[in-house]
Subunit: 404 residues, 2 copies
């Protein structure tokens, strides 16, 4: 008998009708001879409306109280899913993160899982129950409710699969799997059958928002293979697992696109040690998230430092940058929105040279100007004008043979 | 320094604006030099919409899962209230029933409180926090979430006041207190300043739905005096406490009215021991709640048995009564809706005779026919046609001098 963990996202929990379909699927999985744990997200939109409520009573709600508030969303769907399974003639029991034995640290709103005590779940599985765990949440060792950050139900599923030594972990969502590129941009995009954790990580963090990055990191760290697929389809999704030798034969696995980005340039930063650090410390202290950073070659004792971030984060910056510029005696701040990031991702890059050249050449042929470049071992990312992004994605997709 | 428990009902939690007003009141109470525990209900309407969701996924949801589901309503408002207090510059912390140390038995949806471990609350109070407890809920000793039945937040407040040995327990709601009669029926009705637990109990269970009866019973059992008042007004409400000698001087304290009642008569029930019992056992087994029962004087070896119940309960009876009639060989079932119950309540009745006579006389003068009569030590109730209820209430209110 196999133990299977299935996670269902917010759109799969969107209304009672969908919850009944999910219940049917969980029950079917059990009837095929498996022990089944379901991890459920809140109904789509619920987390946002709870956050709106919080904003209406407090401009800066305490994070402990936010977690107390937000955890109710998944508790609700876990109970509804268990009821729906029982209504179909199955046996099911819902559990909060705390009841499921998920112990976290005390970093409210983005807690880390310290340990999982799976005894309670295992004993219910043993009695033949389908166990439905409220995703996205845990409890500190003091009994305080915590949440695991946006998309945290993915992490709940992966971590439970690891603690329960599950045979399968299936992440069900509203897409068929991970694609070679966003099909809305590139209609020729194809579903990827097999991905290495590292590739999934780059795809996840570079805009293919299929899954929470922290969940993928956790899966990589503890080697928990999983599959990403569609909640309401039975076709196979994308399998994500440890890198294997055969995987390197594909040089570029997929193209990830991130829109709605902005670029900030600080000019004439005095070229002294520690000045760049002071810029980015101030940004980090304000909990703002930036992405690509580029520093020009120094000339005449000063340098220009540029970085990208989402438009949303740019809005949050307020006059922080002006303060920084003043404090370090730099030139001025230039802000530019309407840019986008395109990344080509693949483990095969490590052993194949020429990927960067091919990418730049292909963009040049399309007359697309590259504003910034950033690379990692298995990824090359370019920042371009947002209006060129579709053309760039199509050209690149074709150039690396992802259509075939 | 006094310890005060304040409970706020669902309409006081109706929207973020109201929650802010409640937060202000809790904070003010603390600033007057008190330790403050707030007990909050779910936002009005939330419990019902959760129940609707449950009904959509299951025609007969498991009670354990219902409790898991319903408990989220109060968890939500407890977090929002704590946030609102912090936003006003106070210090507050929210707690689920479980975190507040409320341990119940396992009778899901109507659990009884077994014990309260108040150490956690006391230690937060000691640190200067206003503690906001999610009402209506507790936890079994196994860590399962339970709820205390409709209006259970009242019970949470009274039980916490008892466990914490609070100096004051204030039940805030959307009325100014308990009235001599429903002011919508009798505009001359006056707020009652002081009531004995027993009187409150009769008023609560006879239709003055200001508070949950079980909460009043608990208050009586453990002698927890409390006050019922308006969430958004500072005028004194109704104080409820142990009976004191002076209280008996008022013969009738108030008049309680219950509308939307129905009457069922089973004719020609064979006059053998055990037949009446078998009728009411069958009704009890079906979890139907009936109120007044009257049996005619037996004649020719058979008798008629009548009882009242709410219209709602009558709808739930289905063909249960026909089955009973058949099984005991009785005559027929007559159902009649459109009746109402009027009760006069007062501890003084015990020592004053003539209350019944005065009531009947006053109704007779109004030409109002009495269909059934039921009495307790401190209450006389009559069943009359619903169309006469306003006239009956006004006549009685005047006859017993409650207008003065």
């Amino acid at each position: 008998m196999s133990l299977i963990v299935q996670k269902y996202g917010g759109t799969s929990m969107g209304d009672p009708q969908r919850i009944k379909v999910v219940a049917e699927r969980l029950l079917q999985t059990q009837r095929q001879g498996n022990s089944v744990v379901g991890v459920v997200s809140a109904m789509s939109g619920v987390t946002d409306s709870l956050l709106r409520l919080a904003k209406e009573v407090s401009s800066k709600p305490l994070e402990r109280e936010l977690d107390m508030l937000l955890a109710t969303g998944e508790q609700t769907t876990s109970a509804l899913t268990a009821m729906a399974i029982e209504a179909l003639g199955g046996r099911a029991i819902s559990m909060t993160g705390a009841q499921a034995g998920i112990v976290t640290n005390t970093f409210y709103t983005k807690a880390k899982i310290n340990r999982i005590f799976p005894q309670q779940i295992l004993s219910f599985l043993h009695e033949g129950f389908i166990v439905i765990v409220a995703g996205f949440q845990g409890e500190t060792s003091e009994g305080e409710i915590t949440t695991l950050g946006r998309g945290g139900s993915d992490l709940t599923a992966i971590a439970l699969a690891s603690a329960l030594q599950a045979h399968e972990c299936q992440i069900f969502t509203d897409v068929d799997g991970v694609f070679t590129c966003d099909p809305r941009l590139v209609p020729q995009a194809k579903k990827i059958d097999l991905l290495a954790y590292e590739e999934m990580l780059e795809m996840a963090s570079s805009g293919s928002k299929v899954m929470q990055s922290r969940a993928v990191e956790f899966a990589k760290k503890f080697n928990v293979p999983f599959e990403v697929g569609h909640s309401f389809k039975t076709i196979p999704g994308t399998r994500v697992q440890e890198e294997s030798p055969g995987m390197e034969q594909v040089v570029v696995r997929g193209i990830s696109v991130e829109r709605n980005q902005a670029k900030v340039t600080i000019t004439n930063v005095p070229d002294h040690p520690g000045y760049a650090a002071s810029i980015f410390s101030a940004i980090a202290e304000a909990h703002l998230i930036i992405d690509v950073i580029v520093q020009d070659v120094s000339a005449y004792g000063t340098t220009n430092i540029s970085f990208t971030l989402s438009n949303e984060e740019l809005d949050k910056m307020g006059d922080l940058l002006e303060q920084i510029v003043q404090s370090i005696g730099a030139g001025e701040v230039r802000k530019e929105s309407g840019i986008a990031k395109l990344s080509v991702v693949g483990i095969g890059m490590r052993t194949h040279s020429g990927v960067a050249a091919k990418l730049f050449e292909c963009l040049a042929q399309g007359g697309i100007n590259i504003q910034m470049i950033s690379t990692s071992e298995i990824k090359i990312a370019v920042i371009i004008d947002e209006k060129n992004i579709q053309q760039a994605a199509e050209l690149t997709h074709q150039a690396f043979g992802l259509d075939q």
